[in-house]
Amino acid sequence: MASWRPDPSFYPSPRLAAKAPAEKLAYVAAFDPDRKTPDAVAVVDVDPASPTYSRIVGQVAMPNTGDELHHFGWNACSSCLCPNAPHPHMERRYLVVPGLRSSRLHIIDTKPDPRKPSIVRVIEPEEIAERAGYSRLHTIHCGPEGIYVNALGNAEGKEPGGIFLLDPVSFDVMGQWEMERGPQKLAYDFWWHLGHDTMITSEWGTPDTFENGLVPEILLGSKYGRRLHFWDLHTRKHQQEIDFGAEHQLVFELRPAHDPRKAYGFVGCVISLKDLSASIWTWYRDGSKWAVKKVIEIPAEPADPALLPPVLKGFGAVAPLVTDIDLSMDDRFLYVSCWGTGDMIQYDVSDPFKPVETGRVRIGGIVSRATHPGAKNGHLNGGPQMVEISRDGKRVYFTNSLYGAIDPQFYPEGIDGWMVKLDVGDQGGIRFDEKFFVDWPKGHRPHQVRLEGGDCSSDSYCYP
């Protein structure tokens, strides 16, 4: 309901958001890869002063099985303060949680007790298919015209994937977002530059090419996504496409600068067909067009084929597999998850074209199986994956599962879920918080982390 003052978790600018109090709870999507028990959103205590620190203190189970919870987001955030469509007297209260496989959308209320969230509405896939024409729901962002949800497939599970809008109050499906799609067919992630009226979308593939795992022929044929699309955020028309070239496959997470004046951002490319390297690209405004430049290349690591899963054996190397990245609120540090090698790398990206590595930790990894002081078992599997940064930039959380059907392709013995936390030095540098290791309960694997009150990939801002 409407309140008298703006929600205290809304900040006009990233500069002010970075002064927000430390989060005490994290919400983590967890799924059952066997699709036998319901997936859940778990509540993890991240308050170091609490006796239950680093433990799961609550959870809400989905009403069905096989949803494959993946990414999720808030009903409202700091963009409600934007001057062109101001409506900040709402609450950041509901988590919008889609099933990537089921296409079902859950609305979860985090009040009155944030440790005991509850489901208040479930929108069935049929309704979404009928009203928006989409399925396989992925990213959620709160924005100027309501809640934006993107989908990897159309109603029939084929291309094009795209974006639709949810009403921010009733949660009714309002319909397809695009008004002129242009050449865009594949979808993966989306976000925007509110200060530059620009929507950006990236590409994975159609559901038939990933729901049973990555298909080697499609990957080696460079048929997965490799493009960025730029759109006018308000006319909803496609403006520009940038192709990364046949060598690059899987253009994933989009992290635009938080400062609305800056017209640049970072996107990760999972794999190069040339040498299995992963790369980070900066997109930027170049005159009246957008352009991209590869700014980081992370090489594959040679390894004993006997230690490699079948998919990598022939190459004799571990691919870094950069599957998530996240940018700190001050646009200074970029965190890069290398799910294959097990590295989490911190780069100083103050100059977005000249990143400098400032920190690196290793945990898990296809070959390294690096451990953590808090782990009982001395060789962890899975690797750094969904990463989230606290608003003040001092804490970084991440989990280790990528996607149910792809996990066993790279970790054939399966993945034992975990969630860890890094402490960040004032001038960069990262190290594990030895007291924070969530040994995820068997049967579920953790994926995206959202922090109470907002984090570095939940909110967007209209003021510098």
Partner: protein, 205 residues
């Protein structure tokens, strides 16, 4: 209260609402790091608002010459209450057509759309009816007779709105900073809805 004072007071009330433009001017000034942009933005914002009000004035005068004044009051009253209800239910849930890269023309259009969808002009009807139609007791005079008074009404309202818009925009831009929004932005939408409903009732009763 003098109708002129009412018009000026409502202009000040409209100017106070961030949704009527001072916030947009501040945002554009900050994003473009330009005090000049902030000041320049105020003009299309005030003009867009004035045009929206002028449409209502023109309708009042036009209808006032052909239908009974009481009937006009009832129509306007019902419309205001409907507007309040619509705003309470759907207020911010609409297309956003103008973004942060807008030029001055886009800003003027934005201001016109915001003032119109908020029913800014409608809120003035109880003052406009006696003021603009006073010169037409026997409905003999043409609308031309109301023109100078109508223009003066629009001008005064716009001037008051602009003065308050400029004052708040300057204070926030120069001194308070946007952190002010977190504490100082009370729910003016709720007050606005109440004002629309109260104005509607005053016309009906």
């Amino acid at each position: 209260m003098s109708p002129w004072l009412m018009l000026a007071g409502l202009g000040a009330f409209h100017g106070l609402n961030p949704a009527m433009g001072w916030l947009f001017a501040v945002a554009l000034g900050l994003n473009r790091d330009s005090r000049r942009t902030m000041w320049l933005s105020l003009l299309p914002i005030a003009l867009g608002h004035a045009v929206s009000v002028a449409v209502v004035v023109a309708l009042v005068v036009a209808l006032g010459t052909v239908i009974d004044q009481r009937l006009l009051q009832v129509i306007a009253g019902a419309l205001l209450i409907g507007w309040a209800a619509w705003h309470a239910l759907y207020g911010h849930r609409h297309r956003v057509r103008v973004g942060m890269q807008t030029g001055l023309a886009g800003l003027g259009l934005w201001s016109f759309l915001m003032a119109t969808s908020h029913g800014a002009g409608l809120m003035l009807v109880p003052v406009l009816i006696p003021l603009c139609l006073a010169a037409t007791p026997a409905r003999e005079l043409t609308a031309a007779g109301s023109l100078p008074i109508s223009l003066a009404a629009i001008g005064l309202h716009m001037a008051a709105m602009l003065a308050v818009t400029a004052t708040i925009a300057t204070l926030v831009f120069e001194w308070f900073g946007v952190g002010f929004l977190r504490r100082g932005w009370i729910n003016l939408d709720a007050l606005w809805i109440a004002a629309l409903a109260a104005t509607g009732l005053s016309l009906l009763l």
